[in-house]
């Protein structure tokens, strides 16, 4: 059990809802993953299918985390957040201000500026960011209560490309909920994020683009639980030598040396 903005959450997996083969498969993935928070977006009116999508999520009684995906300016991101707050009836927002089209790297300057505007107006901001400690510090200073560094570029499936950077974030901000967001490709990536002490993992494509998305959702759920247990249990230090796990004393035929 952990807490985000006063809400008690059991699952440490946050799941994106995009690019699934069908709405039914998305629902199945949500069930298999056990997630309680899903990300959603706003787009121009389409063909009416969006009604079914939204109703399905409402029926599942999930916490919705609207994003500002694709926004490249502070004004766009802030306006999108306002529309999302009204439409989804939540003050949570996954704030994305994209600074580079090719890598979808966040624009740290725009992110801080937009976050400040939104926090001052009562939003609970989940900032999509890199593992930059200075940006993290600034975001916390203006009132962010949670940080969401990427593992690697969105949708790349590259896994954690800067493990040292994420470890330093964990070390520096011990009391702040940290969620790895974006770039996760396989369950072991998520397990690793949890093993180094992250509080949660947000992923989408790794499940939705899997050959069998519901099975992958289950795999991620297990991996995140395993990684969390590993972190809580305390992982042994690596050694540069062998150390027998079975006691040597009492071994049959023991002569006290290695002569054959």
């Amino acid at each position: 059990m952990w807490e985000l903005f006063g809400k008690k959450i059991n699952s440490r997996l946050l799941l994106g809802t995009s690019r699934y083969p069908s709405l039914d498969i998305l629902k199945e993935c949500i069930g298999e993953s056990g997630c309680e928070i899903v990300t959603v977006s706003l787009r121009r009116s389409g063909n009416g299918k969006e009604n079914g999508f939204f109703k399905a999520l409402k029926d599942l009684n999930l916490n919705l985390l609207p994003n500002t995906a694709g926004c490249t300016s502070v004004h766009e991101a802030v306006t999108t957040a306002y529309m999302a707050r009204e439409l989804f009836n939540t003050d949570w927002v996954k704030l994305e201000v994209i600074g580079d089209d090719y890598t979808l790297r966040p624009d740290p300057f725009g992110l801080i500026e937009a976050a400040k505007i939104l926090i001052n107006d009562g939003f609970k901001v989940f900032p999509y960011m890199t593992e930059d400690l200075v940006v993290a510090e600034r975001l916390l200073n203006i009132g962010c209560k949670v940080l969401m560094p990427w593992a690697s570029p969105i949708g790349s499936g590259q896994g954690i490309t800067n493990i040292l950077g994420l470890k330093m974030m964990r070390e520096r901000f011990k009391e702040i909920p940290l969620i790895v967001d974006a770039g996760i490709g396989r369950p072991s990536d998520a397990a690793l994020a949890m093993e180094i002490g992250f509080d949660g993992v947000l992923l989408n494509s790794a499940v939705s683009l899997a050959v069998n998305p519901p099975e992958m959702a289950k795999g991620f759920s297990l991996a995140i639980k395993a990684g969390r247990s590993g972190y809580l249990a305390g992982i042994m230090e690596k050694r540069e030598f062998a150390s027998p796990s079975t006691p040597v004393v009492g071994k049959p035929f023991w002569h006290g040396n290695f002569s054959k």
């Binding site: 994106g16 809802t17 995009s18 690019r19 699934y20 998305l26 990300t39 959603v40 977006s41 706003l42 787009r43 121009r44 009116s45 389409g46 063909n47 009416g48 969006e50 009604n51 999508f53 939204f54 999520l57 609207p66 994003n67 995906a69 004004h75 766009e76 306006t79 999108t80 306002y82 529309m83 999302a84 009204e86 439409l87 989804f88 969105i154 949708g155 974006a182 989408n204 494509s205």
Partner: protein, 66 residues
């Protein structure tokens, strides 16, 4: 009156407020939010704001997202 709705020029016979214009659109969604000329307009304002020639209206709906 010509309006730019979700990036497309649409001609309306009569002037109207935001709600009237949205109700006259095809492919209406049950759930939507609106920005007028890139500024968010809360639902409570739909009846009070009359649209003008070349106003840009964004009507967005819930979609999957990551």
């Amino acid at each position: 009156m010509i309006l730019i709705v979700n990036g497309e020029k649409i001609e309306f016979k009569d002037e109207g407020n935001i709600l009237e214009v949205i109700n006259s659109l095809e492919n209406k969604s049950e759930y939507f939010a609106v920005a007028l000329n890139k500024t968010f307009i809360p639902k409570s304002q739909y009846l009070n704001i009359r649209l003008k020639e070349n106003d840009q209206l964004e009507v967005v709906t819930p979609h999957p997202g990551g």
